[in-house]
Amino acid sequence: MTAARVALAVAGLALLGYGLHGWLTEQPGEVTGRVVFLAAGVAAHDLVALPLVLTAGALTARFVPPAARIPVQAALAVSATVTVVALPFVIGAGRVADNPSAFPRAYGPGLLWVLAVVWLAAAVWAALRVRRPRPREDR
C-alpha cells in the first residue's frame, strides 16, 4: 500500500506541477483574476452554500412534520441544484441577439416546471409516508 500511495503522490505532484506551470506561464496577466475566482468559488461553496443547506435542513427539521421531513429536505436539495444549473440561462447574460438558436428556451418557466415536478413527487412521497409510516430504515 505504501508503494501505491507513493506512486499516487508522485503522479499527483507531477500533474500539479504541469498545471501550475501552465497556469503561471500561459496568459500570466490573467493569474490574478483566476486566483480571485478560484478563492471566491470555494469560499462561496463552503461558507455560503453549505451553511444555507444546513440552515434549510434545520428549519425543515424544526417546522415540518416528521413524516414529511425527508421528502421536503430532498425536494429542497434537488430544487437548489436545478436552480444553480438553470440560473445562468434564466439570467441570460450570454444570450446572443442575432442567434435565436442559442438558448432557444424560456428558461424561467422551464425551471418552474422542473421545480413543480420535483415538489409534486415530494408531495406524493410525503403522503405515502404519512399513510404508511416506516419506523426504521436500513442503513
Binding site: G22, R62, A93
Partner: protein
C-alpha cells in the same frame, strides 16, 4: 407543528440530525463517484483539446462517426451531474472543515492544502464550465479556455494527492454502523438524494445532445431541431462578419497540379453526395443533419492530390477569428464522408450554416467544420 424556537436547542438538533448519516463510508462512496466523474471529464476534455490543438504524434480518426459527439456530450453532462455530488461530498465531511487544531504537523498541513486546492479547483471547473455553456463570459476575469484547461491539471494532481492521503481509509474495514435515527437520513438515503439531484439535472439538460430527451430537457442550452433549417448555430454570419457571397464567388483549390477557381455552378455540376453527419459542439450539444455536396476527395483529384498523403487547409471567407481556418488530416480529407456541403436537407445552406459551402466531416468538432469556405489548399501548413 410550530414550536417556539430556542436557538441553542435548534443548533443541537441540527448537529444531531446531520451527523447521523455522515460516515467514512458515505464520504468514500461519494468520493469514488466524483473521482470517476472527474476522470470522465478530464479524459474527454483532454481529447477535445488534443483534437483542436494536435501535438505532432496525435491523430484523430474519421470513425466512429459519432465518437466526438458522444465524448463531448458526456463531458458536459458529467460535469453538470458533478454539482450535487460535490456539495454532498463536502457536506459529508463538513464538521471536519472546522476541526481544531486546524493543523497537526507538516503532513497534516500538506494534506489539508491538497484538499483545499482540490475543492477550489473542483468548484472552479464546474462553475466555469457552466458559465461557458451559458456564454456568460463577462463574469470570468480571464479567458475561459486556458483557465478551464490548466485548472483541470491542478484538479487531477490534487485529486491523486488526496487519494494517496486517504487510501488507508478506503482499505480499512467500515466503521461499525451508528444506529440509524428513526425517520432520519441514512447513508443510502444521502447517496440516493445526490444521485437523484444529478439525475434531474441530467434529464433537464441532456436533450441538447440526446435527441429523444429534447422535449423533457426544458433547460437545454440548445435544442436539436431548433435553428435555421432545423440545426442550431454557434456563430452567425453577422457575428463572423461574413456577407452573402454573390456571383463573383470562387472556391480556390490549390494543389500540386495547380490552382482552380470554381464557381458555385461548377461545384453544383460535380457529383453530389449525401452524408448524414452531426454538428457536434465542444459545449456538449449536437444535432444530426443530412448534408449534400461534393466530396473533398473529388476536389483534391482535380488538383492532382487525390492519392497524396498530404493534409488540406480549409480557409473561410471570415476575415479573422481563431476558427477562420482548419486543417484536415490527409486520411480525413480523403474520407468518403468528408464533404464540401452545398445543401442541408435538400435546400441550399442558410447563410448562418456557411452558404455558399461548408466543410462537414465525420467525428469532428463543430468549430473545425469550417463555414463559408473560400479555399482548399493541399500541403503542409
Amino acid at each position: 407543528m410550530v414550536r417556539p424556537a430556542r436557538p441553542l436547542n435548534m443548533v443541537r438538533t441540527v448537529q444531531h440530525r446531520f451527523t447521523a448519516a455522515r460516515s467514512t463510508r458515505l464520504t468514500a462512496q461519494l468520493g469514488l463517484w466524483l473521482a470517476a466523474a472527474f476522470a470522465v471529464c478530464f479524459v474527454t476534455g483532454l481529447l477535445s483539446h488534443a483534437i483542436q490543438h494536435p501535438p505532432g504524434w496525435f491523430h484523430w480518426p474519421a470513425r466512429p462517426v459519432q465518437l466526438y459527439r458522444i465524448t463531448q456530450g458526456l463531458h458536459v453532462a458529467t460535469g453538470l451531474a458533478c454539482l450535487p455530488l460535490l456539495t454532498a461530498k463536502v457536506w459529508s465531511v463538513y464538521p471536519r472543515l472546522f476541526a481544531w487544531p486546524a493543523v497537526r504537523g507538516l503532513p497534516h498541513a500538506l494534506e489539508r492544502a491538497a484538499v483545499g486546492l482540490l475543492s477550489a479547483a473542483a468548484v472552479f471547473e464546474l462553475v466555469t464550465g457552466l458559465l461557458n455553456i451559458a456564454y456568460w463570459y463577462s463574469v470570468m476575469p480571464f479567458g475561459f479556455l486556458g483557465a478551464h484547461y490548466w485548472t483541470a491539471w491542478l484538479l487531477a494532481g490534487a485529486l491523486l494527492l488526496h487519494v494517496a492521503a486517504k487510501l488507508p481509509l478506503l482499505r480499512r474495514a467500515p466503521d461499525p454502523a451508528a444506529p440509524a435515527e428513526p425517520g432520519g437520513w441514512t447513508r443510502r438515503g444521502v447517496l440516493a438524494l445526490a444521485g437523484s439531484a444529478a439525475g434531474v439535472v441530467t434529464v433537464a439538460t441532456a436533450g441538447q445532445t440526446v435527441r429523444p430527451l429534447r422535449h423533457l430537457s426544458v433547460l437545454a442550452p440548445r435544442v436539436p431541431g431548433v435553428g435555421p433549417q432545423g440545426v442550431p448555430v454557434n456563430k452567425t454570419a453577422a457575428a463572423a462578419g461574413v456577407t452573402r457571397a454573390d456571383g463573383a464567388y470562387r472556391l480556390i483549390l490549390t494543389g500540386p497540379g495547380g490552382t482552380h477557381a470554381l464557381s458555385l455552378a461548377d461545384l453544383t455540376d460535380l457529383p453530389q453526395v449525401t452524408a448524414d453527419l452531426p454538428i457536434s459542439c465542444v459545449e456538449g450539444w449536437s444535432a444530426g443533419a443530412s448534408w449534400q455536396g461534393v466530396r473533398v476527395a473529388d476536389l483534391l483529384r482535380l488538383v492532382g492530390a487525390g492519392g497524396l498523403d498530404l493534409p488540406v487547409t480549409v480557409e473561410s471567407l471570415q476575415r479573422s477569428g481563431p476558427y477562420r481556418t482548419s486543417t484536415l488530416e490527409a486520411a480525413v480529407a480523403r474520407d468518403p464522408l468528408t464533404l464540401l456541403a452545398l445543401r442541408i436537407g435538400g435546400a441550399p445552406l442558410h447563410l448562418d450554416h456557411g452558404y455558399p459551402c461548408r466543410l462537414i466531416a465525420p467525428n469532428r468538432p463543430g468549430v473545425l467544420q469550417t463555414k463559408w469556405v473560400a479555399a482548399l489548399t493541399v500541403g503542409p501548413r
